[in-house]
Amino acid sequence: MTQQAPDTGGSARTLTMARAGREAVIAEMRKDPNIFVIGEDVAKLGGVFGTTVGMAEEFGAGRVIDTPISETGFIGIATGAAMAGMRPIVEIAFVDFIGVCFNAIFNFAAKTHYMSGGQFKVPMTLMIGYGGGYNDAAQHSQCLVATLAHVPGIRIVTPADAYDAKGLMHSCLQDDNLTIWMVHKAIWGLGWLGTAIKTAMATVPEEPYAIPFGKARIWREGNDVTLVGYGITVHHALQAAEKLAAEGISAEVLDLRTIVPMDREAIMKSVRKTGRVVVADEDYMNCGVTAEVLATIAERDPRVLTAPAIRVANPDIPVPFSRPMENFALPDADKIVAAAKTTLQSSC
């Protein structure tokens, strides 16, 4: 494995993504009194996913604000506060709930800097959980990453492990734009989801560090096929790469890390080397992130592909409840392995 392992010195611990992200928020809040947290259950409960545990105790109810269930209202309020010099962090626990506040996000928050000609900035970070795999059905299991990435003016940040969770959160909080920090629930490190995927835990230095947006991460180098993913599909791809290695196939695992901006150079560099690509995503396939990755190759140099590309993504169905049907809809290592083998057996 050739993870871009950080130089952690003596101060590193192994953390879950929730704890690592929280550490970045707390560090930035200590530094900047304009940062505050607002959302449902962020104060007393510490966030539905534990993202804000301990913050109300340290910073007080004035800076960690429990809201009524009024997403349109509090996203709008946070946006206005950001325009007036504050730097809000807004938690929307489940991305599925974004439907009720989409207007406040895409018609106002995302467009204010542009439509004001740069007069008003909206330095706001939305902290959102997404994804399925625990039988929560179609209204609590979506990804909607591409839906959000489609709207100009929003940075979409999708860390895959604790190291990136912290570094990218620092970048979100230092950025002057609307950023959406999205973590797949199954890798967040939630006890009640069994912390199923251990590779999302990582050694994390205590000191702050910022990871720039738009820089993909190569988790594993390989020569035969590139497996592109982000968030949870990075871990599926790593598992797939192990399985493929056992069969003598060398797969490279590329983590997009941020969907907007997307590191298109890194995609080209890797596929130029391997000639074959499988793009994995738990989000809907149609017009999704997988399509954007392949469009990048088609636009920049389709000749780098020696075989047709394959997408492993939700086959455009609402996420079903029942376990066998949900598993059918979700990507996993075996599906990526099968796709990699198919592409290795074909040519164009």
């Binding site: 209202g73 004001s116 008003f120 907007v260």
Partner: protein
Amino acid sequence: MNPTPKQRIWMYEAMLKSRLFDEAVFAAYWEGKKPLFHMGKGPLPGEMHQSFGQEPTAVGVCAHLGPDDAVGAGHRPHHVAIARGVDLKRMAAELFGKKTGLSGGRGGHMHLYDNRVNFFSSGIIAEGMGPGAGMALARKMQKKPGIAVAFNGDGAVNQGAFHEVMNMAALWKLPFICVIEDNKYAVSVTTRESTVVQAWQRAAAYDCPGEYVKGNDPDLIFAAAGRAIQHARDGKGPAILELETERLHGHFIGDSAGYRAKEEVAAQQDPLPLYRKRLLDEQVLSAADLASLESQVKQEVGAAMEYGRESEYPAPQEALERVFARGPTGRAKI
């Protein structure tokens, strides 16, 4: 609280400025759109929602505001922007889509922003509620003086944002004023047809003051706005100020408002000549003072329109700039 003579003169001046601006915009809007109406043609393209008749609401409220305060308006923003003191030249240039416009031509008439006077507007109904209350929250959190006022139409009160934000503004005692301009129509649907309980009465649901001001009268609006704003400045939380007003034209230019009864339209009163007459009758201004003020406002509006018309268009590729803060971005750069 009654306005002083100086405040009354300021209110008349701002009403007149808004009216003359709208008249000049109306004339320019039709250039290139006859004989066949095409919204995208001519020097002033796009939808155009004008403020004819609604001027008193903006001046009666904004007369109380200072540099620490913030104002949000809706899709019909001209009178509010002008009463708030938005740069008229750059506002005109924005309507013409010019590089010198408030937003360099990225916003247009519904999306006016002037950070110099903490002003914004939005084309989405009730959109001012959240951001307006957020600006109030920022002032409270930063322990800075000032209040925020959001202007909304009567149609906005049935949006979820209205209720959600009023609830939070009241819970958190934000220095926030929700102004509802009741021009009696949400496009073609009357308030009576759309709203079972009016906004000012709903104030009871948020345990905050609510007042309805009849008559579209700048002096009465000034008095009521003074009470509401003082309440907010005293840290007692938000208030709802619902103001009867008149939409003398259609929803936008091109809407002949055929859905309104002839008798109803005939009964509408234009607040501008009424207020002018009152200032003369009560000797707040002499005829000579008025003539001089009117000539000065006319000149200012003329100069603004000329500035807008004569300014350069932005280069097409400037469209790629300002999507994100810090440097030009856009798909090409991502």
